[in-house]
Symmetry: C2
Subunit: 304 residues, 2 copies
């Protein structure tokens, strides 16, 4: 090994990875090394700062549990999750397809199934009731029958089921199916905006940056149907004070909604409603439709 200087150490590190059998891993890691080293050189990273970074990442990793994915939260507040989302979206979504948003750290597989019109607010029933209805179609407007629509959200106090009470009890999340005409009808209580979890290292980091750490009120949506790209999105409530400063950069204008009375076609006249028509993009050949997010319980390493 020739004596290494501040530039040659980068070439040496990449050279040592040159035999990586997986060409994509080789490409991604070479780029990661270059950008990581460029960053360190640009800011002239000091040993105590490096150590603070190590300690921070360690704390983030140690804060992860089967019910909490602190690294996804970090990726979220750094804008990385949204960036990966936007790139994935631009590549596979048809122009008329619904825009996507972040899955976030609170998604869980196998949420309870509900019949049309039933409410996902089973245990936490506080708050103003509202209806969601509309259709699921392809990008050309043709109905998609029997599509599965998974929604999940906070209660009226800003907490997900995983944060409130017994994490084994699922609440304010559920799965619905569209009818033969691609129509759906869901009921819930109005979610409220909430702070990301501020009791961990990422919360401390956000406070150090003088950020409010708030997400505007929203309802997460995941729509799946065979032959279509999985749609991971969310509907944001337009009257939230933080609608323009989401701390995880999830909001798009086309996903902002406002519940109102007397909507044409609303299945109930006694509750404020939102009509939203989801448009699915066809799955491209060979596309697996990876998801920007994950069930935290699936992200923990196996016990050593």
């Amino acid at each position: 090994m020739a004596d290494l200087d501040r530039m040659s150490v980068t070439a040496e590190a990449i050279a040592q990875m040159a035999k990586t059998p997986d060409p994509r891993m080789r490409e991604v890691m070479a780029a990661a090394i270059r950008h990581l080293h460029d960053f360190a050189r640009e800011v002239d990273l000091k040993p105590d700062e490096w150590l603070a970074g190590i300690a921070f990442l360690t704390a983030v990793g140690q804060a992860c549990t089967p019910y909490r994915q602190e690294f996804i939260l970090l990726s979220d507040v750094l804008g990385l999750s949204r960036l990966v989302n936007v790139m994935h979206d631009a590549e596979g979504r048809e122009a008329a397809g619904t825009e996507t948003s972040l899955l976030g750290p609170f998604f869980r597989e196998k949420a309870p199934e509900f019949a049309p019109g039933e409410s996902i607010a089973v245990h936490s029933t506080d708050g103003e009731q509202m209806v969601l209805f509309g259709t699921v179609t392809d990008a050309d407007g043709r109905p998609v029958p029997d599509a599965e629509i998974d929604i999940w959200q906070t209660d009226a106090h800003g907490q997900y089921d995983l944060q409130a009470n017994d994490p084994e009890v699922m609440d304010l999340r559920g799965r619905y199916r569209t009818d033969a005409a691609g129509r759906y009808h869901m009921r819930t209580v109005k979610p409220i905006g909430y702070s990301i979890p501020m009791d961990g290292p990422v919360g401390k980091f956000v406070r150090q940056q003088d950020r409010h750490g708030m997400r505007p009120a929203h309802i997460h949506v995941l729509v799946q149907a065979p032959g279509y790209r999985e749609l991971v999105t969310a509907l944001y409530l337009g009257d939230d004070p933080n609608i323009d400063s989401d701390t995880v950069f999830g909001v798009s204008d086309s996903l902002v909604v406002t519940p109102s009375m007397g909507l044409p076609g609303a299945p109930r006249s006694d509750l404020p409603a939102v009509r939203y028509d989801f448009r699915l993009s066809r799955l491209a050949a060979g596309e697996t439709g990876g998801r920007v997010g994950a069930d935290p319980s699936q992200m923990m390493p196996a016990a050593q």
Copy 2:
């Protein structure tokens, strides 16, 4: 928040951090965001790859214990530790000062104190004995009396005390002091090259890159004396087969040594010896002398 695209999400993330009160943190994080996002854009990072990265970092964090710092190990195998080291060195070390090397994950505070000539091989005594002797001077060659020299290394089977047997028992590490003429005399057994810990996520990562994961045999050295920059370095044994392909990029030519018999001035004639004269750089005004590395037990987050 305007609709974000693959470029504007970066500006938006930096803008949301613009109120960070600490100007250095603001600068470092803005650069971190730019390089992180540039990396993701350059490789067009896919959701499943992003998720694999999250899972990997989570596993690295979860592998950290009071006796093991897996994130420092990751930094080491990515060449980042060496880069930070080289930059720190170039900034503060006097031209004639001894080159530095990595502290690594096995340093421990408060190693046992030894008198000149005593051996640090107290429990693990297998292997060929050797002597280390020489002087500690300033960069102009003036002796530094009462300097503390901390050394630590593997046993003759390639394990540190933290890896072998009871981690509470310190072995093959110790502190010596220079005499009034700046001279020191230490005794140990010859270390052997070893694999970095391969049973964790970083080991798996290194295997995926078809790297041997070996470090050439070396003795870690930390020299401290009031008024001087802390010297973190290591002496590498020149006959090690991996002397040119250290998996953590720690070797410098000026730190390669070969034990031999009959050295002038050697304190013992019956053992092979290495003479090494350490030259300390003066501490610059206001410099705190941060260390590229840490005692793993100091790096764990406080219990929540």
